[in-house]
Symmetry: C2
């Protein structure tokens, strides 16, 4: 019976996510759903991506946090509209939260919407929110065993960004093992190695993203 | 209505956790519930703690993972009985999972039970499992803003172990800010600074834990 409750929640979420996807299609807005463990570098990647693309696209950000507005403040400091969703304890964002945030977003004035999810490598992967692509970050201090331990996130994502490569000399992170395991779960996964701290590798990620957005919008 | 379902689940869990606590009291078993983000170092801390205390106490470990048995294998390699719970997608352990694992643990032959939860800084904090103390790990690469962003975990825990202090020279982690924020949420929180990689600081944690176990068992 508990399982049935969960299944009904997920079904209802999927229907609402499809409606959101239709709306974003109509408005030609490319949407990414950015997910990772706490502290893997989601907001830093959002900042780097905005700096690289804000002259090319009109961008908005929806920030999901259990409480506080630190991340939205960081985005707003870059001159980008940022809407903060506080989930009030919930460990993930769902389609209904996005729908309720939309009146605060001018959908006729943006090309690209970044949704930064709650820091959690488990639950967010289960909830579609009308995105074109789920993007996940794995940071090097977390270890190369994470694909095997949290497989759904890797299976659901279009791209995995391996962040904090600047720490590789100081942590026991087997890059080949991590990539092999992730590709074993999802052979279509695009993988990028970056340091949001130094900027290394971000150009490849930005080019991939630009290609996706342009292909969607043409 | 959804909220009511969640509340009923938590109430039922609390009742079952109380029953487990009574059982552990009767058997004089001290139980910790170890929680953190993925990759913060739970299993490494379990290994270090076992090595420090296995001559003093009879220890068993229950490992919670979504799937796989890597962590249980690491514990078993130290000669300690390890029971693996696979949550099958669930993002946290609950009291019922512990109850179902108990037939695999010889409660008359242990003094100290370590439960290693699923890697998640959000959901596990909501579910009691009959523990004496919740222990959390915050690793330095995650950043000092985590208490503000994931407050419940810090409020619920008896101790916070700041792990990966060996990485302090290479990450932007403000130790004072992290400790101040955590104590602001929970002024009774005991805080330890350790490196499970180098062993630094672990003696203070082990002494605190020993004092707790001895006080409980005498």
């Amino acid at each position: 019976m508990k399982i049935q409750v969960v299944k009904n929640i997920l079904d209802a979420n999927d229907r609402m996510a499809s409606d959101l996807r239709d709306l974003f299609d109509k408005k030609k807005i490319y949407v990414i759903n950015l997910m990772s463990s706490p502290g893997a570098g989601k907001t830093s990647l959002v900042e780097r991506t905005i700096l690289a693309l804000r002259d090319r696209y009109r961008i908005a950000v929806i920030e999901g946090d259990i409480q506080d507005t630190f991340d939205a403040d960081r985005v707003a400091a870059l001159g980008i509209p940022a809407v903060q969703i506080n989930t009030g304890g919930a460990c993930h964002m769902d389609a209904n939260m996005i729908r309720e945030a939309l009146p605060s977003v001018n959908l006729d004035a943006i090309d690209f919407l970044i949704v930064e999810n709650v820091g959690n490598l488990v639950c967010p992967a289960e909830f579609r929110i009308g995105e074109n692509a789920k993007i996940m970050i794995l940071s090097t201090p977390e270890g190369a065993d994470k694909p095997a331990k949290y497989p759904l996130m890797f299976q659901e994502s279009a791209a995995m960004i391996i962040n904090k490569t600047d720490l590789l000399p100081y942590v026991d992170f087997d890059l080949v093992k991590a990539k092999t395991a992730a590709l074993g779960l999802n052979r279509n996964l695009s993988i990028f190695e970056v340091s949001c701290k130094t900027g290394e590798g971000l150009d490849v990620w930005v080019q991939w993203l630009t290609d996706k957005i342009d292909a969607f919008r043409k």
